[in-house]
Point group: none
Chain length 198, copies 2
DNA sequence: AGCCTATGAATGAAGG
DNA sequence: CCTTCATTCATAGGCT
């Protein structure tokens, strides 16, 4: 039973129907998996008709088990198939989407102009940036404390500001006090991040 | 048949000699890090032979410093490499765990991979979760340190590495890796502070 | 014989 | 930890 052969030589490897997976003969280089016509059809159907995009491990196992009746197949083949197909569909769409930009000089605000929507940036960046500024402060300040001001040229100013009421020169600041201030800073950082997330 | 298969094309950059090739002329404008053969071999060896899974910052620094003799490399490359390799090993195992119909049921090597033991200098789990776990982790670490009083000296050299590869407080450093470094930094600082005050 | 295209496989980087 | 994305390598088969 050779099933309908439409597609070229790929069929040869899996021509043996059901059961006997004796791919053995005709092996012609077992380098990579090549889907049979039926496998490819079902995969595309899953993608376009049923909207499968990035199946979970369980789904992958189900799919590969089902497709095994049409030829040798592994879970990773299904995994890679969906990964590649999705990526290439996206690329095709992306290439065809950015062409019309030639005529219009000004980018329409908020328009569905191709590629990844950028609206997330404005929403998410603020807290993260702020917390990382605090992180940077902590890093700079710690470096100053730990090595007595040698690492970062612009590090000490943080300390200088914090202790400006008493010791304008941060270098002379007592280590104990630095640690104390750093505890305060840590507390602020932690509280800030906690408040930001919550 | 399954012989490892090391990406032929990449070998071009380091095909010369196994031991001493300079990645150097890794063409294509080096948009991203591509491990040399020797680097990849050592990394896999660390993973499989020495059981390294989620190395701490200190380990990452040591590894990347050691691997630098074989080509350009940063700490974050090592960080991502272990992250990816571990995740993909796990997924491979999960995907190949199916196949109810006997064939290929042989469990691949690496049965008990849950060890995570050995040469781990730090027992800290890699804080790779996300930024929203940062505060919780920091608090936990703080409490843990405060009660257990496990301290170790030295502080600055951890952050010192940051400045060596790029600008201090580098904006270029990826957020993920920054969070990772920052979490470790918090721990170091707290220990340092605890040791200083006590 | 020699490209060319489609596509399987792999992996660095990053997000959540 | 687990996905997701983008890019790249590798190769089979068709075309001229």
């Amino acid at each position: 039973m050779l099933m309908e052969v439409v597609r070229k030589g790929h069929e040869i490897q899996s021509i043996s129907v059901d059961g006997s997976e004796s791919d053995s003969l005709s092996r012609q280089s077992c380098t990579k998996w090549i889907p049979t016509n039926e496998q490819a059809r079902i995969l595309r159907d899953l993608y376009h008709t049923y909207g499968v995009r990035s199946p979970s491990v369980e789904q992958i196992q189900k799919i590969s088990n089902r497709l095994r009746q049409y030829g040798k197949i592994e879970g990773k083949n299904v995994f890679y198939w969906f990964s590649n197909y999705k990526a290439r569909e996206r690329r095709k769409k992306r290439l065809s989407a950015d062409i019309p930009s030639s005529s219009n000089t000004t980018t329409p605000p908020g328009a569905c102009s191709s590629t990844t929507s950028t609206l997330a940036l404005s929403q998410l960046s603020a807290p993260a940036d702020a917390s990382f500024h605090l992180s940077a402060m902590a890093v700079c300040w710690f470096c100053d404390v730990g090595s007595n001001a040698t690492c970062f040229p612009h590090g000490p100013h943080v300390v200088g500001q914090m202790g400006s009421s008493e010791c304008p020169g941060s270098v002379l600041m007592e280590k104990r006090y630095k640690v104390y201030l750093y505890c305060e800073l840590l507390y602020v950082v932690i509280c800030y991040e906690h408040a930001t997330i919550s």
